[in-house]
Symmetry: D2
Subunit: 506 residues, 4 copies
């Protein structure tokens, strides 16, 4: 029952969400040109599940049901699962730029852990509800939007202190058959062309703010839901070599007293576990982001090499060009390596699934977040200045200029000028257009800002082990733990995980 | 006879250049909306010359004529001139993003030196021709486009080896009354709305390529000139808070057998001096670029501070936000400091003018070229993720969404949501839109790529002095110079320049 | 037959090498105080093989003999072997700073591959000779010094062009029973307290220089061998909290017509395979270096945390201190992650062993080489300025000053001043003393300089795959390979390796 | 009455301070070999004042007395003074590594401003006392030690909260004829061979801690003063090519109830002005540090170039070597440029002197503090690995090894092996020995840690101007200042300073 891209697009017709793009109501999401690149991006995850070469990466067997599901909906049971997920995300993103659907995976895995933990603490039955929902999602091969980042209002105030409580989504009313939620999620990836939203809290809330600790599933067209979205990519722009085909919409999603029946509610006031869910989701998501941005790196490396060639340069003879390409490779593969290590040193969760190692996962995301700018720099560096004055595609068919431009904009004689212009426009599209700016920004802030990663790295790192090592070397008795309440005793790695057979690197 | 911005715009009507933008012929440059932001940018340099507060910076007395001229057309005679020019460029660029006209200054100063030197070597009369031209340009208060970067073709081949010689501009024919030039300049800043072009060589050519060592002035509408340009900024886009007002067009300029009379020819085959002109121009230009990008830094610093405020954060309480702002300040002011030092340690040219110190000038440009990406990163960092999903301006007037969006997108209660959105869109415009990408790319490659700066730094640095210092400390006899043919004996600074009274920093 | 540290030290008495340290002849290496810290460092690898907690990491079963051997002498057969070796190196180096003996491992693994390949190309019997030698080394549990880096002379000339051929080790004479070698290896780790040297070429030599392509095993006290070594660590210095115990000697080793019997000769003129040996060794060695320097990172992290505590600061309240520690962690774990990924994506060698992935291995080494300086910076940053004026240990027992110094140099009241001084001196020892300088330098140049890593990264990276990806996205036919002779078609990863169960991270 | 180096050394005999070095009491500072390199370093500032070539930089006319004084004791009256001081510091430090005496200058200039301000606020007569003292110091041509950094104890507590108040120097008793001070200053540069100490507070103290806001002058041998110092440089070490000649001692100075007569007291409880003094001193000092470390850069650049030459490499042919040298130059000259700009944009103080611009001064110091590590890296990079195994000088005269080592350690044939070894040892001395470590640490923490600089940059930067710029561009009314209490309205630059004629750059 795995859909392909065409079936996915058709499946969207079953929904009638209230969507606005550029101030205009969208009549049919499946047919809206401004959203097509985003739908195409998600579509890659569907098509590749049917591609014989990619099946081992793109599908997996769900342990709780025994069924084969799309990798983007699978609960990881081994470190091999994590490594394959990482590779799968890189695979679909190097084709689509950003295939978006890995967020469904990240949220499902976070919920699998969090519902189990909540039941243990509170005697609730969230995990069973969730398993039923998980299997339904897998069987229908859905794509879920993650509605996590609240609008937040004044960042120096707690949710309950805000002048307008709707800047955070919260439980407005508890009814016998379910809950009513209200508020705004500010950044929802792919919002218009999801099947359902997973509403999740974006931090540990205090006891007073218990109503903000809510997690539930809501169809995109549930009454009371409004989506205000941006176009996906650069649809319809002739110069958009890549992002006219593939892109990503992001949307603000307003929940105006939306009713959610109990079987779709997975958290409703348990603040501690809400925080755990946020963190657990974030760890899975940052691990996925590593794969996604490595795929973007693959695109830049390939485009850079083609541009160098078209300019008539050779990295083997021009050291500064080779060094720049090595920089780009080093950036990409060193954060990717953190994703690999995070898979290898995964942690078994009491729920039965595995979680990527938090330290490596956060370090990888921190590196990609801050180095995406250097990736753009290198792409510009190796491409030369041509892009600055590159005439647009309208000029290609201007009889007054086309002939002379073609002659003088040629680089190497054996590479047609069209090819040179095409790759120059690709690099422009990826790194100079607003699509390029978007890649930077989403890399920096997506999945949490660098500050959040630093907090997690510090919180999870086994500093205490290193302290004891040094005390032993100094022939000291080790200090009493009580004196070091502020340091975690922790470990960040596990012994005895099943460890992965990689499929291939890129 | 100093024009203001309105007069400048009107003056463009006297020209009828053959200009194409987006594949369409431009009927009237002065009225073309796609070029208006570029004309506005240049206009700032005209208007500010009349502004009492700015006159000391924006005007100067030309020594050779005794007349008061626009700073952007002045030949520097003292280090104070250089410092004031640097400050003037920062001033006009922090308002306009890039006021473009400083390129006129850079080229005129390079030519002042190069024509003198050429006459000395070859007994020509270029300097007199040039002085006459200079005074005319100053009297008419023109803006000159710098047509320097050739299309270059296969970068591994010399001009004369190219399959198509037209990838470099060259002398096609020498006539009794002048020369005929032909070829393509690939990146000409502000091409459509210049009064004239200064055609200049982009490197030292070999003897065989003497015809490529040509420098002359050509009106933008001289017969045979075609300009294929990109729109300036983001004209007409409602979300373009800044770049709908101010921008920059760049164009490819094709010279198809253009006749230039002798009195406008300033170099015609003198290859060595052509190289000197390239270097001299580059040194002046890199010095100006420092001021320009510092102005861009001012914009980012101001926008960042406003965004932080609108988000409800305070750098004095949030250390990571303050640190990020300090990074942005440190980047901006440390490359600006190189511009100041380059002014202070200027070098007297035999022609009677001064040249910025080449080492500091190149270091400043190298720093801004490679750190513009970090500037964008900091701007994104302090702004938070809002920009990713920020609804466009069309949404502002959508009755179905406007009210609820306004409520939930507010940050601090005492700052209207419109103000928050406005500054978020400004940052998006400056750093996420293609305008942002363009700032990066032009910073990296404009005025020569980083490789060119490194070469110049090495070539001009007084390494030999340091070597001698160390040899003295080691009580060694200093090695014979002959053994070190590959190292320059050079000095990079002068004693006894007149040194500047700064006006103010920013 | 695995020795422990005491047995290893005793075993050195069976050798009588000609060793000079500080201009003085060493009578007994085993008893020489100036070498003791180095012997202690190697000793850790022996002792830990007997430690129950460490045995799984520190020993392994050699496939060709079925015997249990020290991990530092084992030929890797699976990716798990590589991961365990990486972890083992980190383990012994975080205790000893640098345990040195992993070089034996790196050379043996390189030779295992290279002798097999040479036999295949030249019909020689090197692999059998080598296997016999390998088993003997394992049975006797020896430590081998790697004599690879030649003195090199004028770096702009090939070996055969040098005025003095002895700046490279080479075959002086070929005899019926063996060869005579001569020349100097400039940097041999732990030279005086090795059992034997493995002499290896340091690059691919040309055909004319075939005599320089020589590899053989030579006992440290073979006639004609002279070792001029530096003291190991800071023996006898009271302030040397760490490096009076553990250190590393490096030596120049002069081979003055040393005879080597055939059964200890593993390469004798096969220039291509000599280059392969160099590269293969380097890949293994760079992988090991990653583990070694991660262990150094562990020391710094622990020492930094103790110093912060003793100063009365808390990273959870002082953001800039926490950020600095996170930097240190990020540097350490991100290059370590490259070692993990290099293990996971290992490559099967035709000889039956596995080689770490070359791209990840080189990236990891490149990162540690260039970031060790930042590691020192962070350690200094979090420690504060105390170290600058810290009175030496002689002062601790000065009755005139000891009492008052103790009082005023105390930080937190609950931490004795001795403890604060001790950790301050440890940080001084690790990062300010010449031991600290040595760590930097050896990290930068050990195992090849950054330039060498960049070359290897570029040579091994599958750029062609990325180019094809982009061409497919551009709907282009993929260019003919012939046109891209300069790019490797390569892959850098393997499918289907057995992948490791990590033991634990640190 | 300007002394030369010999007279300075002799003048120390007039003092009999209680000094301990390495646990041993020093009988005669002037004759103590362990302190000689430090005395030599200071001596350079004396000798150069008599050197005709350097007199313009090394002397100046004191406005308040009309007398010619050593630049290191001069109160700056113009921006030219500041630039010349910067150049003078670079000059003496590139010869001596660190000439130390500029700290006298920095403290005198800070006190000139602070005493004037205190008198204005409190009606005291500190400024007159100070002027009398200043002229005496200048007339006697003294060198003053800056005793500012307190021992600090538990850094999370205020001085008055410390278990032991003596971790900060404070007024123990106020007597009719003077004050009695007590406590410990932890890091005093050159302590043993100063003439007097200027005791100064290291921060703004609270009202309760008014007794800690004390500033006064104390002869090094005042009763109750004990100095516990480290050796200066590496005295007596044969391998210490540089630091056996020139070095720096730092000392802990204990004030055990030291009486100070009123005419040497310049602050006694005025907490606000104590904070101003700290800041003012710090600004002058950071400006000086820029010159000092640029001089260190000169040494490294020269040594690097010599090493490259001796290795047989040529930066013009080996791009990666040239790039590394350009990095070193760029680092050095870009922080130096901040010193130049700080001079140019100096601020007139109400006391009549000038202060370097605080933003540029702090940025320059921040850059040098964090980039000194990269300077070491580059020095190692261009030198190659030889230093790791370089035999020590004892080996040079070992008849058993000397001949063969000389032959094989030669690089280029036309450069004697002694020369190669000498420069290798120089680089080792400067960057690998504990002297190198000391340079790093003192650069990072000397004059305040990076955190302090960031605070000052933020506090002094005219953020408000940039905010207003952006608000104007957005056509907004500018926000009321009241709403922005947390932001300074400030300016960081002045109009109309006299601006400097540089002498020469290096």
């Amino acid at each position: 029952m795995l859909m392909d891209a065409a079936a996915y697009r058709e499946s969207l017709r079953a929904y009638s969400p209230r969507v606005f793009v550029n101030g205009r109501k969208v009549e049919s999401v499946a047919d809206e040109p401004l959203l097509a690149p985003g739908i195409n991006g998600v579509g890659v995850t569907y098509d590749f599940a049917h591609h014989p070469e990619h099946q081992v990466l793109m599908t997996a067997r769900q342990g709780t049901s025994g069924k084969t599901v799309n990798r983007m909906l699978h609960i990881n049971e081994t470190s091999a699962d994590l490594l394959h997920k990482l590779e799968a995300v890189r695979l679909v993103c190097k084709v689509s730029g950003c295939a978006q659907r890995y967020l469904s995976h990240d949220a499902l895995n976070g919920l699998f852990q969090a519902t189990k933990r909540t039941d243990g603490e509170h005697g609730t039955d969230y995990h069973q509800r969730f398993l039923a929902y998980l299997h339904e999602v897998q069987n229908r091969d859905l794509t879920l939007g993650v509605a996590m980042t609240d609008a937040k209002g004044d960042r120096s105030l707690r949710p309950g202190q805000q002048a307008n409580r709707d800047v955070y989504v919260h439980i407005k009313e508890r009814r016998p058959d379910g809950i009513v939620i209200r508020g705004t999620k500010a950044i929802v990836t792919g919002a218009p062309y999801m099947h359902e939203f997973l509403v999740m809290p974006c931090r540990t809330h205090t006891r007073e703010d218990a109503d903000f600790a809510v997690c539930c599933a809501v169809p995109v067209d549930a009454p009371g839901v409004t989506i205000v979205a941006r176009p996906a990519g650069r649809p319809g722009e002739a110069a958009a070599k890549f992002s006219a085909k593939y892109g990503q919409s992001t949307g603000v999603v307003i929940f105006d007293n939306v009713f959610v029946p109990h079987d779709k509610v997975f958290l409703a006031g348990e603040t501690e576990e809400g925080g755990f869910l946020t963190t657990s989701y974030a760890t899975h998501h940052r691990h996925s982001c590593i794969g996604a941005r490595a795929g973007f790196g693959d695109l830049l490396i390939g485009a850079g090499a083609l541009m160098i060639e078209a300019n008539g340069l050779d990295p083997n003879r021009h050291g500064h060009i080779r060094d720049a390409m090595v920089d780009l490779i080093t950036i990409t593969e060193s954060f990717y390596a953190c994703g690999v290590a995070s898979s290898v040193y995964c942690v078994k969760d009491p729920a039965g699934s595995v979680m990527p190692d938090a330290v490596f996962s956060n370090i990888g995301k921190l590196l990609l977040a801050t180095k995406i700018y250097d990736m753009h720099k290198v792409a510009h560096y190796v491409s030369g200045g041509l892009i600055v004055a590159l005439p647009g595609p309208d000029e290609d068919h201007n009889p007054d200029t086309q002939a002379s431009l073609s002659e003088v904009l040629m680089g190497r004689q054996d590479i047609a000028v069209e090819q040179r212009l095409e790759v120059a426009r690709l690099i422009e599209d990826l790194t100079v257009s607003h699509q390029g700016g978007w890649y930077s920004l989403i890399s920096l802030h997506g999945g949490g800002s660098p500050e959040a990663m630093k907090r997690e790295i510090w919180r999870n790192y086994p500093v205490m082990e290193k302290v004891e090592l040094v005390e032993t070397l100094l022939d000291r008795g080790v200090l009493d733990q009580g004196q070091r309440a502020s340091k975690q005793p922790g470990r960040c790695c596990a012994t005895g995980c099943d460890v992965p057979t990689p499929s291939k690197m890129s």
